[in-house]
């Protein structure tokens, strides 16, 4: 092969390399698709903690709405957001209640269970009570026990603070008292989880329940008590020794894009989520991938 041919062949190969590199660079610089999720507060906490890993590994931009239920978010918002899923506008919802079969079918939803979350029984920090037997917890919320001295506390009336969310769905506070009608009538009813914590913090006689992923502020004078000597942990949930919990799930609607499906699978089975679940004493509902 003559030197001239070699020269032109090397020139051609160099040009091809430059063009291919430019194409590859342009592909790398394409904006990551945005996936939007909305729903109740507790699952938002979990997803928000693993958001950096999800965005990095799944090459997407994750937009999460649901930091505070007081802002109007909740399970209903999660279902509504899931139904907005379209190609180019990937959405999903997160909920704290297991949906009824009729609701799933009526909305064309797919439920992706994530974890069971213990419901903490919280009292004011000034309250000397550290443990309440399970039946007495239920009796307190039903109004059958109305004074703390009946559970080993001071002679004070008991003030029940309740957020009666998702009354048509199973689970959550219904693990304590099955129906709203069974709760004591002279209670403080609030509309947001933060108001539950604040109410128990305000009343020295207060008692309420809150998911274990709640991040308590130093100004909130509350503490969680054990139930019949059992602490609200993942292990006690697994062994069914701790009775009060709610189920966290992701809900989707229709065909899922690859990034969204991969993201949900990663949440259900990934190691990052396991670490966060351990932190908040959650019991994952899907086995981890090897």
């Amino acid at each position: 092969m003559s030197n001239v041919r070699l020269y032109w062949l090397s020139r051609f190969a160099g040009a091809c390399f430059v063009i291919l590199s430019a194409i590859a660079g342009a592909a790398e610089k394409a904006p990551a698709p945005t996936v939007t999720g909305a729903g109740e507060h507790f699952t938002w906490v979990l997803l928000d903690e693993i958001r950096p890993q999800l965005e990095r590994d799944q090459r997407l931009k994750l937009s999460l709405l649901g930091k505070d239920s007081m802002l109007g978010h909740g399970c209903n918002v999660g279902i509504k957001k899931a139904r907005e899923n379209r190609a180019g506008n990937e959405t999903f919802g997160f909920i704290c209640c297991p949906l009824a079969k009729e609701e799933v079918e009526a909305n064309g939803l797919t439920v992706h269970p994530i974890a069971l979350e213990p419901l903490l029984i919280i009292v004011n920090k000034s309250n000397p009570v550290q443990d309440i037997p399970i039946e007495k917890v239920r009796a307190i919320f039903r109004g059958e026990i109305r004074n703390w001295k009946e559970v080993g506390g001071e002679d004070r009336p008991i003030v029940v603070v309740l957020r009666p969310h998702c009354p048509q769905r199973p689970g959550h506070w219904k693990t304590i008292v099955p129906t709203l009608e069974q709760f004591r009538k002279d209670r403080i009813e609030v509309k947001a989880e933060v108001e539950v914590v604040q109410g128990v913090s305000d009343f020295a006689e207060g008692i309420g329940n809150i998911g274990s992923t709640w991040k308590f502020e130093p100004s909130q004078h509350v503490k969680a008590v054990t139930v019949s000597g059992v602490a609200p942990t993942a292990e006690n949930l697994r062994s069914k020794r701790y009775p009060f919990y709610q189920e966290q799930s992701i809900v989707t609607h229709g065909e899922l894009s690859a990034p969204l499906a991969n993201m949900i699978r990663e949440v259900q089975t990934g190691q990052d989520f396991r670490a966060v679940a351990k932190k908040y004493e959650l019991l994952p509902l899907t086995p981890t991938t090897p």
């Binding site: 109305r146 004070r156 009336p157 008991i158 003030v159 002279d186 209670r187 403080i188 009813e189 609030v190 108001e195 109410g199 305000d202 009343f203 020295a204 006689e205 207060g206």
Partner: protein, 519 residues
Amino acid sequence: MIAPRTYRFRLVFYIGVLLLFLVTALVLTYHSSNALVLKEAENNAARLAQQIEGHLKIEARDLAERAKMMRDNTGFTGYLYIAITLGTDPGAMRELYQRQFGWLQINRSVILSRSGRALIGAEHADLRAALIQRGLVKGAEEHQFYHEGQRGLEIVATSPISYRSQSLGVIAVTRTIDAAWMKVARQMSGGQLFLVKDGRIVLNTTAEGGAGQDFKPSSDRVVVDGESYLVRRVTIGGDAQLPQLWFALSQQELTAHLHMQRTRMLMLVLAGCLGGLIIGFMMLRNFNAPLSRLVKLTEEVGAGRLPEIPRGPSHDEIGYLTNRFSEMVTRLREQQDEVKRAQTQLEHEATTDSLTGFYNRRYLYNIFPKLWSEAMRNNKNQTLIIVDIDHFKKVNDRYGHQVGDRVLLHFARVLRDNCRVSDFLFRLGGEEFLVLTSGDNEGGMHVAEKIRVALERDAYSDDERSVPLTASFGVAQANTSDGVDGLSRMLQRADQALYAAKNGGRNRVVVWYPKREIA
């Protein structure tokens, strides 16, 4: 003194009328404004008092809204419900109250249960008692009323509270009519406010204080601390036991504003007068002064004088007119000079002899009376010397008239050379000349002899000939007794003397004396 009907007079008159008008307007305004301001203030006082009443109603409505805000807060009413029904520590409720409503602009708040138990504001016992007395703790409607309690007069707004259709009690919030409120109302209205109880001032917005002083208005007027106020009562409810709120306008403040306005007006009028004077001065300077100068110039021209008129800039009509007038006067002066020169020439020609340049007989008759009267005033004499060239006809006959003229010129030169500068020389006609000299006969004879000798010695000569000349002289002195006929008598006497000289053989001087007649 300015003459009437002149522009200057009119200008001064118009400016005077303008200033008079301004001053009259000022004086009339000055005297009428006081009553006008007070009357207007009465209307304003009533209107502003109504505004304050409206302000109080708005305050009451705002308070009612705040009470309703508390009533409608389900979180707070839930706490109240628990506190009332379970008898829990009200601390939780108070903390929530502070979080939710601590920022509200209210002075006092009380929350009573239906039993009258104070859940919030237990320290406000007077307000609690008023609510119980009015039966509001179990009421179902909102109320607004005035209350006089520990903090003085207050607006109170109440709202019944309930939780899940269960009546819990009443919320009452207040706004105190205190010094701060009255200060705001004063700033809003611009007048003073007095809160009066039993005819004495409880609170007021005047700088002097005045609390505890009597306040007993009469005919909507009251005097406090020596200051007179125009007052209107602000209606704050029908309870006669409550303090009364009065709105007041200080007459001194009103008149102070008026005086300030008057001073401003006076300054404006003075400035207007000064402006008028300046304008008048400028008009006099720009219009009247050039007009007056022009009038004066025309008077001078009319009087026959033609003064030099300096030309100036002719930007305006008067300057243009002055310059045209100046040109006209200049042309007149040039023409007058021309006439004078012609007249002088004519006079010269009429009084002098064209050959010798000596004066002629006409001029002798003109000048002599003047000289004669002057000599008589100075007690001096005048002497005439008549000179006649001897045998001059023979010169003409022998050499011709041209030579004869040259001989006459030669004779005239000799005559001039031997006379004094002050002597007058005349040619009376032909070869007859006359010398008029001051002095007596002796002097005249001396002058004549001097001339005769010089002439005898200095014969006329030219390239062709020499002509010896002699002349005869008749000298006569004027007498004071001659009077106005001095000249004719002198001429007569000198002629007699000349005649004697001619008869005596010529080339001699003969003097006429009165006694011996001829010497």
